[in-house]
Symmetry: D2
Subunit: 91 residues, 4 copies
């Protein structure tokens, strides 16, 4: 199920931010920063990754299940795919 | 958004299983079982609770967003509520 | 590695609270409460279960790794068991 | 609590792998890949970040709590810091 109108600019901005946060962890290790500081940086990456995951799921919900104009078959397919995603990735 | 046809029997069976698992943790503490055994029991509760959460979200998806016969306004409201849930509880 | 002086009274109080929260979910389903309310109750169970898991890990850390009087062999064994627990249950 | 002998080479290798995985997500968005594929890439990042977090916690456990030669005060301080980390980041 490819995307035509997914809000990729917002998602891309989130990914670039995560890349920057990962670079900050790398610098922290290079500078021999204490564990607690490194952990805080890693926790920030984890939070941002969870946020990115949520937004992709929400985009999929709106694009492939809720969008007006979809027919019942398309909606059922979008809901089935979203169900698989929720069961796999929500942990 | 109350539920008329939610699959509560499946959800109730899951909740009763979780109650049984919590009772097993209680017995483990009473019997002074080692940490590793208690942790395994607690991890089983966590897994079951995550599973229960997923199924409630999936029920909401099917009942209030994907179900044929909903009009666009109902669908948008269902999607908005699900978006709030995903952002709040997926962590 | 059994426990002699684990703070089981605190852990037991947590488990009993969780049992009460699970019972609240059961009542919510019986009363046909809306998804959002049920999810909030389930999220409270999940938070309490995560908290319980943390406290068991912290107890193990203090009891089997950090406690004065342990010899190096006992400490290494406690740290090895805790390492297994962290890698398995921290997700 | 700075680190003198932390196994930074292993941690650095993990961070560089994560940076590569984040770059793969960026490429996926650029190439308009379907949600399911992007989610799989993001889930891989999340798994790797959780793994990195575990290893930093384990390093801290071995370096500042379990290591032979620490005195009781040093051990207690290491355990206190680890307790804070476990309670904050284990979710």
């Amino acid at each position: 199920m490819a995307h035509t109108s997914r809000n990729d600019s917002d998602l891309m901005a989130r990914v670039k931010r995560i890349a920057g946060q990962v670079a900050a962890v790398e610098r922290g290790l290079t500078d021999k920063a204490p564990c607690a500081d490194i952990l805080q940086l890693v926790a920030a990456v984890r939070g941002a990754v969870n946020g990115l995951m949520d937004e992709i799921i929400v985009e999929h919900l709106n694009e492939h299940v809720a969008r007006p104009g979809l027919d019942d078959t398309e909606r059922a397919a979008g809901a089935a795919e979203l169900t698989t995603v929720i069961r796999r990735y929500s942990k």
